[in-house]
Amino acid sequence: MPDYTTELAVMRQMMGSRDGLVVFSERLALVNGIALTDPVALVARLRENKWLHGYCDPALWPALAPHFGADFKVDTTYDRKRVDDYAFGITRAVGAIAETGTIVLNDATTSRRLGALTPWVHIAVVERAKIFSDLPEAVAGLGQDTNVIWVTGPSKTADVEGILIEGVHGPGIQIALVV
């Protein structure tokens, strides 16, 4: 079997000595995702778009609740029957990948697979210290979780005449809240 170093699969001149968060934000923007670092900005954006009803991971809610006003209705239990009611879903990510603007979810860290998938807006809360540089690093960090999913921007298709449409089955808006 041929041997090679993982450097082969790293994009040239992407990271250099740059900060992981800077590269991550820049790359996420390229796939029409949004990186935020301030919960206040997040809440403002949700309000501005009238995305007022959502689901939030119960573990995250105590820290986030003070930023949300009384105009919001946020459930900390996910009800499958109300799939069309949730405008946003807030879940925890286990990490991110700078090179590609990707967030990393797994079964242990993410409260509900559906909570990150069915609402129009998905907000992944990711710790700044857990940003991998590139794909080889992220593969090496897959860990023991039985289901790891990398999410790079909003769900999309180009099946109809090659025209890009976002929000096919999953979120049309993908936000990473880096804390």
Partner: protein
């Protein structure tokens, strides 16, 4: 029949379809090239190494497959082996019946296209709904995909809007965004009602037993978030040796397939859901499908088993762009299909022996292949096989006379001189169908037979091109 089947199909293709296929495939190819060459110092090295890794797997499937099986079992996955398409479908049906399941949501998998799983399940009273937007449209239309990554590359928005209207998905509206939203609303409830989610796998790591699944729409993730049972149908050649190799292959697959740096959803699945996770399958089955692959392995074209189904060779192929995918009458169209499809026919090879001939051997498919498959070489081997099995080749001019001339120097020289007559003949009127068809769209260049030989003999600096003295001496000895 005047022509070979694939030529006949291409000749009768609607102009609309040809334009849709041409534009779609060309766009994909150009973006791919830009991405790879902008982002890697030596993109060719990536694909050469990826090719070597996959070739290693293909040559050692006998050790990798048991290794993967053991790993999957240890991860809590139930493993099935299916030698044929029928066996694979029966395995799926058996799993569904054992669970009392009647509803399946399906992500896009080429293996299930091979086995015609959805038709099979419907015949047995099960609902099997395609969830990839393109595949969903193909399903409600009763059509077939014509591209392995872009299944409806041959359709335009008007056709899609018409079939949505016919299938009760709203009044006629051909805005792509409206089409997509309607599919979103219809399908999300279907996922939540389904009992079983079926997917394929893009890669399976022998080291960890992880299945890797890539999509953009999020449909396979939805299948695996909403249902309680996951069935994966996997071709036996999908293995990569280590997790380590996944970064390399994922980089190549997204760029080659859809000119993306990474697909939107890249999922690594090593078993049923974690006990603490409320959503997702409690039961997971992997069905390893042979369906003709071991025959390919035994042939002199086994390199084709490296294929990672990116579709780059379709996008770049001048024949595919003109003929469209349906001309190949197979699940796999384009250059990869021209090799794989006839091979997978087993002893019915002659039925698809026309496919390897529908190529100008320009080599573009080899050049773009992320696993460096020498497709033109394989096409030649299959042409040779067709010749040896005396498969008829309608529409191809007989080459017997050419063979006689080309193997006798005197006759060859005479024909080079005598050919000049073609410059004075009214070729458009000659009763040779192949020539007339050709001349209908092009004009024959003037005959210059013998000019090259003349130039070769009289040119200056001849020594530069002569074979080295030693090999000349050997050639002499051989004489």
């Amino acid at each position: 029949m005047r022509f070979q089947q694939i030529d006949q199909f291409a000749a009768e293709l609607k102009a609309d379809t040809r334009a849709a296929v041409y534009d779609g495939s060309k766009k994909g190819h150009e973006k791919r090239t830009k991405l790879l060459f902008d982002e890697y110092a030596d993109p060719d090295r990536l694909r050469r190494i990826a090719g070597e890794v996959k070739q290693h797997v293909v040559e050692n499937l006998d050790t990798y497959l048991p290794q993967v099986e053991a790993k999957l079992k240890a991860n809590g996955v139930i493993v099935h082996w299916a030698a044929t398409a029928e066996a694979a479908n029966q395995a799926v049906l058996g799993i569904m019946r054992a669970r009392g399941a009647t509803k399946m949501v399906k992500a896009k998998t080429m293996v299930s296209e091979e086995t015609e799983l959805a038709h099979f399940l419907e015949k047995h009273g099960m609902e099997a709904l395609e969830t990839d937007l393109g595949e969903f449209i193909v399903q409600i239309d009763g059509d077939h995909p014509s591209h392995i990554v872009k299944p409806i590359i041959h359709k335009n928005r008007r056709e899609i809007a018409t079939s949505f209207e016919k299938n009760g998905l709203g009044a006629y509206n051909d805005d792509p965004q409206t089409i997509t939203r309607r599919a979103r609303h219809f399908l999300r409830h279907k996922y939540l009602e389904a009992d079983v989610g079926l997917t394929g796998a893009n890669f399976v790591s022998a080291e960890s037993g992880r299945l890797v699944l890539v999509t953009n729409e999020g449909n396979s993730r939805f299948c695996l978030a909403a249902t309680k049972c996951h069935i994966a149908m996997v071709g036996i050649e999908k293995i990569v040796p280590r997790d380590y190799d996944l970064a390399l292959f994922l980089n190549l697959l997204a760029r080659s397939g859809t000119a993306q740096e990474l697909t939107v959803y890249t999922e690594f699945i090593s078993g049923p859901k974690s006990p603490t996770q409320p959503d997702g399958p409690e039961e997971m089955h992997v069905i390893f499908v042979d369906n003709g692959r071991t025959e390919v392995l035994a042939s002199d074209c086994r390199d084709i088993l490296r294929c990672i189904r990116c579709g780059a060779c379709l996008n770049v192929c001048p024949v595919y762009r003109q003929a469209s995918g349906h001309a190949y009458r197979s699940v796999y169209p384009g250059p990869v299909g021209a090799v794989l499809s006839p091979l997978m026919m087993g002893n019915k090879f002659p039925q698809k022996a026309d496919l390897p001939k529908a190529s100008s051997l320009c080599g573009a498919c080899h050049e773009v292949c992320p696993v460096n498959i020498p497709i033109p070489d394989l096409l030649l081997r299959l042409r040779n096989r067709a010749k040896e099995e005396n498969v008829p080749s309608p529409g191809t001019p007989p080459m017997g006379a050419w063979a006689v001339l080309a193997s006798q120097p005197t006759a060859w020289r005479a024909s080079l001189f005598g050919g000049k007559i073609i410059n004075y003949l009214p070729t458009k009127l000659l009763p040779i169908p192949a020539l007339r068809a050709w001349e209908a769209k092009r004009s024959l260049p003037a005959w210059r037979g013998g000019e090259f030989r003349k130039w070769l003999k009289t040119r200056k600096g001849r020594a530069d091109f002569s074979p080295p003295a030693s090999s000349r001496a050997e050639a002499k000895k051989a004489d």
